[in-house]
């Protein structure tokens, strides 16, 4: 489709730009409230090098303000209605960021399990976050996203005792459409599983 082709061309330029600067770029996608911002904050604190963030939302600067409180360089994109980030928006946002010395660039996509999946932003790695309260059937219902990522994080595992969540069913759903995807079980609240996830992320960084 024409829109996607045009996007992919800009995405290639973005990726080239990140490669030249040796900035490892991560596209994070999830439903509203699944834990994208929390994951970013917990991860950045544990990394071995400076990070920056591109924060995407339809409206508000709630997330970029939260991130800025920790002194992390961040730029907020407000799409005004668009249900996903695109490569052009990413390109524009990067211009407002100082990437000097930055080794990790996190792009928090708009909260949506559908639209973001189709838009390459120029990232090196794609992560989907699902959360326990959403239910174990999300991979079956939103295959476009779960099939297109390198890793799936299941967040809020601290809530397992209070909801019906069949972990086997969830895993099966992912493996059926994405055999190579890594699956991480974490809680941004109790910090369970975060160390292992950060170790994996560091190991994925080709510019370390």
């Amino acid at each position: 489709k024409n829109i996607l082709d045009a996007n992919d061309q800009v995405a290639l330029l973005n990726r080239e730009f990140f490669d030249n600067l040796k900035v490892f770029t991560i596209n994070i996608m999830a439903s509203p409230g699944a834990g994208k911002t929390s994951f970013i904050l917990e991860t950045i604190h544990r990394l071995d090098a400076p990070s920056a963030v591109i924060e995407g939302d339809v409206a508000s600067s709630i997330d970029s303000e939260r991130i800025a409180e920790f002194g992390i360089p961040v730029v907020q994109i407000n799409t005004g209605g668009n249900c996903h980030l695109e490569a052009t928006m990413t390109r524009e946002a990067v211009k407002k960021l100082s990437l000097d010395g930055v080794k990790y660039l996190f792009i928090e996509n708009v909260g949506n399990l559908i639209c973001p999946a189709s838009f390459d932003l120029g990232e090196h790695i794609r992560i989907a976050i699902s959360s326990v309260p959403e239910g174990d059937d999300k991979p079956y219902k939103y295959p476009g996203l779960f099939s297109s990522v390198d890793a799936v994080i299941l967040n809020k595992i601290d809530l397992m005792p209070y909801v019906d969540f069949d972990l086997e069913r969830f895993r099966k759903g992912i493996i059926a459409i994405n055999r190579d995807a890594k699956i991480f079980l974490i809680s941004c609240k109790t910090k369970e599983g975060i160390e292992a996830l950060v170790e994996w992320l560091k190991s994925e960084n080709p510019y370390r």
Copy 2:
């Protein structure tokens, strides 16, 4: 925009069709896993007249099968990738439903807090469901949807003890963009608040 105009024309025809049949039609929108299907099931059991359901998902028939188990007439729409239901899809789905004697038609929209807001399906009433684990800032971040509905349901209030949720902040966010919206606090798990919600829904039905 042309797509929206074309949609609205079909929506008008749909609404006229529902009016002629005296079927009270409800468009339910929410994030993935917020509780759309659970709300529909809990409500249908408590209504004073027969219901039918149009079930929208990108993929799978998980929800329509769950609803069919209770003997409720239901049709599954799979968009295959589209992030919202449209009036034409609704029109097509209705043809597959027997609406004889049906007084309430629930349309479960695709799980998404953005795209469904712009598409009139021909409904009489629009409901947004937010859930406690998603966080109290959703009305600020997804104003398009929350400003366009008649009622906002906050579901999963049984999880309040285990998450940080500022109810005042949530309410303020809704009132700021939608002063007349009714706000209901419920739990599909403990059944708290459901009676009052069903009473309101019945009172909204002009064909009772």
